[in-house]
């Protein structure tokens, strides 16, 4: 074993030290997280299968929906968003909570990198696996329903859904850093299903009574759904959709950062 520390100085020069550039570190963590996720194929498979199966069970058999281009496209969009929300909340809520219980986690936190790159990598990694889940969904919509989009609308839709997934990834992280894995699971479920229902991901919001529609428009799921529908079908979203989504995103950023900062030592109380 030759000198590992050949360049070590015993110096007392006070160089502040700089971490590696933010982008370098984010890329490093993205690669690491992607490899970790992809090496457990069942997790990837679950993400890919779930939205496709829902599509086959709930949309394809309903000819009134499946046969109408606008309704079918809207259904694909809503299910796609549900898939992305659920993947984000589960992967991050539960995934982060589980990671924190691993003995490697304290080591990760002591590497010379702040929370930023790790969080960016998580968001991007979530996006990548959401795309894996969307692909078969889009194929089914194209082959088995009247859903139709122009290439431009498709790209806009994918861009929108990735953007819309950001607040849910952040919410997932806030839960993951704040709670233990056991607590995170029910909390994610309690949050996900009401949000998905109220946001019109299961039933079109046109069927909602006025009071529910008002609540619905304040949820991040509804805002995301309408923006996504606008991108894929051209049906205009309500005016407040973007501000509502931005507001939730901001709130979830703060929650995620606070949860991360408070995380240390919590497990041992």
């Amino acid at each position: 074993m030759s000198a590992v520390a050949s360049r070590t100085t015993s110096g007392n020069e006070l160089d502040d030290g700089h971490t590696q550039p933010f982008l370098t570190l984010s890329w490093l963590h993205l690669k690491y997280q992607f490899l970790e996720t992809v090496r457990i194929p069942i997790a990837v498979l679950g993400n890919v299968l779930f939205p496709s199966l829902s599509m086959f069970f709930f949309v394809v058999p309903q000819t009134t929906v499946a046969g109408n281009p606008e309704l079918a496209t809207t259904a694909v969009a809503a299910l796609g968003l549900f898939a992305v929300c659920s993947a984000s909340l589960f992967t991050y809520g539960l995934g982060v909570a589980e990671d924190r219980q691993l003995p490697f986690y304290p080591f990760l936190r002591s590497l010379p990198a702040g929370p930023g790159p790790q969080m960016v990598a998580r968001v991007l990694n979530g996006g990548i696996f959401s795309l894996f889940g969307l692909l078969p969904l889009i194929l089914i919509g194209w082959l088995f329903t009247a859903a139709t989009v122009t290439p431009g609308q498709l790209l806009a839709g994918i861009g929108t859904i990735l953007g819309v997934s950001v607040p849910f990834v952040l919410l997932g992280m806030a839960i993951g850093y704040a709670l233990s894995a056991k607590a995170a699971l029910p909390v994610v479920q309690i949050i996900l299903f009401p949000l998905a229902f109220a946001g019109g991901l299961f039933l079109p919001p046109q069927m909602f009574p006025a009071w529910l529609d008002a609540i619905s428009q304040a949820t991040p799921t509804r805002a995301g759904r309408d923006l996504l529908v606008q991108a894929t079908t051209g049906v205009e979203a309500y005016a407040l959709a973007l501000p509502v989504l931005a507001g939730w995103t901001l709130l979830f950023v703060v929650l995620a950062v606070v949860a991360y900062r408070n995380d240390e030592g919590r497990r041992f109380r």
């Binding site: 520390a5 590696q20 970790e36 304290p106 080591f107």
Partner: protein
Amino acid sequence: MSAVEVSAVQVSGVTRRFGDVVALDDVSLEVGHGELVGMLGPNGAGKSTLLSLVSGQRRPDAGVVRLHGNDPRDARARTVLGLTPQETGLPSTLRVREVVDFVGGHYPDPVPTGELLEQFGLADLGKRQTGSLSGGQKRRLAVAMSLVGRPRVVLLDEPTTGLDVSGRTALWDAIREYHAGGGTVLLTSHYLEEVQALAERVVVIDHGTVLADDSLETILSRVGVRRVQLTDAAGVRQEHLVPDSDAFVRDLVTSGTEFRDLEIRGASLEEAFGQLVDGVDGVGRPAGHEAPAEALPETTEGAVR
């Protein structure tokens, strides 16, 4: 902060609680540049908590922790730091090379992965998932990970626990070599031999306080107890903790007392701590083990059972 003399690691008046448990109670410790300090203490003594503070994983409830003069909670301060993950803590699905690349990527001038794996005898295992490594290979990987960034300060938490003799010696050589190159080492162990083999200075910690902080020789003379076991004429198994087992056995034989199944080994640290803290230890041993060398087995008050 004076730019003249900044310690590699500075811990002053640090207290850290976990709920009702005080893991560290007003601990102060200073490690100079290029020192090799061993931290000894039984499980739960507070060693790992101290390391987690120095590596910025936790913040102290009171007191100050500095790494090269900076707060280790700041990621920038940690560019000078290397540390070992716990052996069980390697990401099991990643390959050896991927893990080393990942850790090295955090540092400005990492040791090339191939070179590092070569140094630690892991070159053939680069493509293996870490979950498939043996305990000894994992330990070597863990120490390699602590050195990949050419750190100035290295924290080694139980670096050779569970290793066989040759594996242990090889790792010790690597640590010595790093130290010889000017690196600062703070290592924990509950093996006396390990600290004995490596450290120049020893800090003994138990119940969250520093019991002793001195040169290796001084500490050894304080904790160098031996445990003597024998079965007496009545068939009763006896146990004695003595500072000088040779003298004890010589006296035992001279006294003509009947005994069989004589067994001598170095006292475990926990037993040694019983000596060091003189009866106020928390390991459940009765006070006053120190059997005088001239005492005969029948009369020793230190006899257990």
